[in-house]
């Protein structure tokens, strides 16, 4: 029995030390810079490029309608002296209606562009939120602050800044292992 007690106590001590370092949760106050994460995350660039492409197509549609309408105005200006009073009224009404339609379309397109922007930004924010949560759990942090430059973290030492670590992990995760 005495022979066994020494190795068992050594094992228990080793396990105790291991579990102390392995399972202890860090009570450090740490933070990540959300703006830096948004800028440095690879997916932001991809999502932004997609969005810009979509916005460009949508704006191009509006531009071509506007060009058509401006050409019609020019033609009307040239020909107005030849038109009768009734024809003039009719033409003005037609051009007015067309302008209204283009304005409505432009507003709808602007709304669509804003919605697309909101969706793509939210996608990136979801990814960052998920990863920071996972990182915090994995590394045993009790709390990770998100600094956005709006004064919510006024001062922190460099050691408390996890941004680079998190950004690296986030990008590795996005690239796939």
């Amino acid at each position: 029995m005495n022979k066994l007690s020494l190795p068992i106590s050594v094992l228990a001590l080793a396990f105790g030390i291991f579990s102390f370092f392995h399972f202890q949760s860090s009570s450090e106050q740490v933070y990540v810079d959300v703006n830096k994460l948004l800028d440095g995350y690879k997916r932001t660039k991809i999502v932004r490029a997609d969005f810009e492409e979509k916005a460009k197509t949508l704006n191009a549609n509006v531009d071509s309608l506007m060009t058509d309408w401006q050409n019609e105005i020019k033609t009307y200006e040239k020909e107005r002296s030849k038109l009768s009073k009734k024809e003039l009224e009719l033409k003005q009404q037609l051009l007015g209606n067309k302008q209204q339609q283009i304005n409505n379309y432009q507003q709808a397109i602007q709304k669509q562009i804003q919605e697309e922007d909101k969706k793509s930004t939210q996608t990136v924010i979801n990814d960052i939120n998920d990863y920071v949560k996972e990182y915090g759990k994995k590394n045993g942090y009790k709390i990770i602050f998100g600094a956005s430059g709006a004064g919510n973290v006024m001062y922190a030492s460099e050691a408390a800044d996890l941004t680079q670590d998190v950004l690296q992990g986030l990008n590795t995760d996005f690239d796939g292992k």
Binding site: Q122, I125, G176
Partner: protein
């Protein structure tokens, strides 16, 4: 000394085995506890998303009913073990997604269409290496506002080589709710060691 080693081995082997439950309710309760990894919850922009991995035996039990035979259990397990079954529930204020669209006929129609026919283009399952697992089918049962959430069953093939990685990612693209893409990471261990029912009369 020998008995100590045997005891240790016994405990170790029991720990590696999957859990076994005697009733369907016990199993359902177990998979609903988030810490067990079968169910995950997320709230984005006021919308609640819940993803649940449905173990094979729950489907076996559902088809078998109360008349249990060993042969039938074996056949059904073989049948359902070939696929992965996920239930995605989405809600806002404890109501179905369609409820808040009820005021606008066009939006309502578009959402019905999306949920019934378009979810294969919006939901994706892929590995850590970004290898996509192709969707086999999905089922959206209309509940006509009687349910607290919109639930859809997604079925994927069980490909052993894709389960070798630590996690699978289940993503839901934005469905026009401004939630962005919502992602769930699924630990493949829950699929490899899924809980079972004992199927005893």
């Amino acid at each position: 000394m020998k008995s100590g080693i045997l005891l240790f081995l016994g405990v170790f082997l029991c720990g590696c085995n999957s859990e076994t439950f005697t009733t369907e309710k016990e199993l359902l309760d177990y998979i609903m506890i988030e810490e067990n990894g079968f169910t995950q919850n997320k709230t984005v922009n006021g919308y609640d998303f819940k993803l649940t991995y449905k173990p094979t035996d729950l489907l076996v039990k559902q088809e078998m009913g109360n008349l249990i035979t060993d042969a039938k259990v074996k056949t059904l397990r073989e049948k359902y073990n070939k696929h992965l079954y996920f239930i995605l529930s989405m809600s806002k204020n404890n109501q179905e997604l369609l409820n808040e669209r009820a005021g606008d006929r066009n939006e309502f129609g578009a959402m019905v269409n999306q949920l019934a026919f378009g979810m294969n283009e919006k939901v994706h399952l892929y590995t850590q290496n970004k290898d996509t697992i192709a969707l086999v089918d999905f089922v959206y049962p209309r509940m006509y506002g009687m349910s607290r959430s919109t639930s859809i069953l997604f079925i994927y093939p069980k490909e052993e080589n894709k389960l070798k990685e630590e996690t699978l990612s289940f993503t839901i693209e934005d469905l026009g709710l401004y939630t962005g893409e919502v992602k769930f990471k699924i630990d493949t261990n829950i699929i490899k060691n899924e809980p079972q029912l004992s199927f005893k009369n």
